[in-house]
């Protein structure tokens, strides 16, 4: 027994982006423990922006590498580089929104102490002393780390760990809003209970798949599928349970019930981050699981995914019509958008992969922008989220209302916006896979969705502002920059999508 265990060879350079973010998150925790209160916010800002930009630079520097790392546990291939790049860019925009502290007279969007009872004397004191909850930053960075690892995971264990690293900080962040704290805490509880429930499904599905294939490596599962043709209960059960876990994170029907509650209750910068980046990471991971590990039984899951995509598009679009709260409406809209992305995923082809990636970029930045606008329309109690309160916004603040109108048109898929190109690509991929019915449902859902998107524009521009309506806060440079980036990406991807499409096409295929 004196033989030495062979040490695994690890090439750290391709993993550098993830290592930078992980290191910054850990240093952030140490800063929270030891730095004086005044110094924490500047330090955390430097760490967060420095690490995100540094990680993106490292990603670009190493973007030519295609390899599997850490004994095959993590894979760096074209799609994972693209997905990590999207996550990092979205995280930078989200960090701009999180760093904003001029909107609320009392400070940033987060409770001064999440532990203080809502409405208590403690809370008033913390607020009047101007305390800030800077723990938000390390939590945010850990979540970004999870999102980067999630689509790059090459076995079920790493995927599960990444799923949890991504989700656990988000459960906490969801409960930290400064205003309407009971709503926020309720959102955190619902998100946590249902999120943990769904990860248990994912884990048990992984166990069944391991029982079937004898390995948790995606390539090993794919080999087992060709070696043992025929369906076993372990395989089908494993795939179904893994699918439940991932579709929950994506917010697909019938696993969507948490989305409106959590999106409405969470602080708006966190909602923006959740709505945009979680979806990117989870769709990326779903693509890898389905295409790499379970590509051999595509005929079994493709039909199921078509049904789910169709249902998700229809339910999201139809229920969104009846919403009176703008954040809830955007939540249902994001459910519908998830359905459109799933149409691309279920095409099970290279075109489907490319279309899904493009749609994720378009959707991510547009969504980020919509919630940035929501955080700016405020009255004395915080954000004014009733759609009726938004009446006449176009007269009070034409620039902001125009930005929001552009986002709404993009989500509706009107030409010359990024949303149109995204929808066109996913429908094209689905048609190539002979899914005519799904495409028809998608077109129908787009028409239904256009109704409530355009309704907001009509309310903003063609109705009189109420007497005691909300005011539009003039944001600081951070939110302005975030909004400008979102508008720019939305318009440029609509007018000139080709460079990004070329980039995605060059990225190529999943490594087995």
């Amino acid at each position: 027994m004196n033989e030495m265990m062979p040490t695994p060879e690890i090439d750290y350079l391709p993993l550098l982006p993830m290592i930078i973010v992980a290191a910054a998150a850990v240093i952030g925790v140490i800063v929270e423990a030891f730095a004086p209160r005044r110094a924490r916010r500047p330090l955390q800002l430097v760490l967060a922006f420095g690490s995100l930009i540094g990680a993106f630079a490292a990603l670009v520097w190493q973007s030519g590498v295609r390899s599997t790392e850490v004994e095959g546990a993590v894979v760096i291939d074209g799609p994972s580089v693209i997905l990590q790049g999207i996550v990092l860019l979205l995280a930078i925009v989200a960090a701009l929104l999180i760093s904003e502290r001029t909107l609320d007279p009392a400070g940033d969007a987060f409770a001064p102490r999440a532990s203080a009872l809502p409405g208590s004397e403690d809370e008033r004191q913390f607020t009047s002393r101007g305390y800030l909850q800077t723990e938000v930053w390390p939590l945010f960075l850990f979540s970004v780390l999870g999102m980067m690892l999630f689509p790059a995971a090459n076995n079920l264990l790493v995927m599960f760990v990444a799923l949890e690293v991504m989700s656990l900080p988000l459960y906490l962040l969801a409960g930290m809003a400064r205003r309407r704290r009971l709503l926020s805490q309720e959102a955190a509880l619902k998100y946590f209970i249902l999120g943990a429930f769904s990860s248990a499904f994912f884990l048990f599905g992984s166990a069944l798949t391991y029982g079937y294939a004898g390995t948790i490596q995606f390539s090993g599962i794919a080999e087992a599928l060709t070696a043992q043709p025929g369906r076993s209960a372990l395989l089908v059960g494993g795939l179904a349970l893994i699918g439940v876990g991932m579709l929950f994170k994506i917010g697909a029907v019938p696993f969507h019930q948490w989305v409106p509650d959590v999106y409405q209750g969470s602080p708006s910068p966190i909602t923006a981050f959740m709505a945009a980046a979680v979806k990117v990471a989870a769709i990326g991971a779903l693509l890898r699981v389905l295409y790499v590990a379970f590509g051999g039984i595509r005929w079994d899951w493709q039909f199921m995914l078509w049904v789910i995509a169709g249902l998700t598009m229809l339910v999201g679009s139809i229920v969104a019509i009846s919403q009176s709260d703008i954040k809830r409406m955007l939540a249902y809209s994001s459910i519908a958008q998830a359905g459109f992305i799933l149409v691309g995923v279920s095409a099970a082809s290279q075109a489907g992969l490319d279309a899904s990636l493009f749609y994720l970029i378009a959707y991510g930045f547009t969504t980020m922008g919509t919630f940035a606008v929501v955080s700016l329309v405020r009255d004395s109690t915080g954000e004014a989220t009733k759609i009726s309160q938004w009446a006449g916004l176009g007269r009070k603040s034409p620039v902001l209302a125009t930005c929001f109108a552009i986002f709404m048109l993009a989500l509706a898929g009107i030409p010359l916006t990024s949303g149109f190109v995204g929808k066109f690509l996913v429908f094209e991929a689905a048609l190539a896979a002979d899914a005519i019915v799904v495409v028809l449902i998608g077109v129908l859902a787009s028409i239904i969705a256009a109704f409530f998107y355009v309704r907001v524009i009509v309310v903003m521009f063609f109705s009189d502002p109420p007497e005691d309506g909300p005011s539009v806060v003039i944001p600081s440079a951070a939110t302005t920059l975030a909004l400008a980036i979102s508008v720019a990406v939305t318009v440029i991807l609509g007018v000139l999508p080709q460079p990004v499409l070329d980039l995605i096409e060059q990225a190529g295929v999943f490594l087995g």
Binding site: Q185, A196, L203, F204
Partner: protein, 99 residues
């Protein structure tokens, strides 16, 4: 002992946990049911490791324990916060977010 019985036991435990999440009303009990589901998955991993004749499943069990511990930290923090502001750990009572 036939390892297949352990797989059956794991499935039973997982189902019990899932039913517990759906029917129990106390957040702590719901949370314990989720932990039961995770541990059922662990048992399945270990049993399959024995059947497959490799160690991967046992290694996974250790990782899952660590993740479950992290989940306890986050979950209890959220449940305790809710309990302090509402004086109740029922998951039916927080019902401000709807429609």
């Amino acid at each position: 002992m036939n390892p297949e019985s352990y797989v059956v036991l794991a499935c039973v435990l997982f189902t019990l946990g899932a039913i517990g999440v759906l029917v129990r009303r106390n957040a702590i009990v719901v949370f314990m049911s989720i932990e039961l589901m995770l541990n059922a998955a662990n048992l399945a991993f270990v049993a399959f490791a024995r059947m497959n004749g490799n160690l991967e499943g046992q290694v996974i069990a250790f990782f899952v324990m660590v993740v479950a511990a992290a989940e306890v930290v986050v979950g209890l923090a959220i449940i305790v916060t809710i309990y302090r502001s509402r004086r109740s750990a029922s998951i039916d009572e927080p019902n401000l977010l709807k429609y």
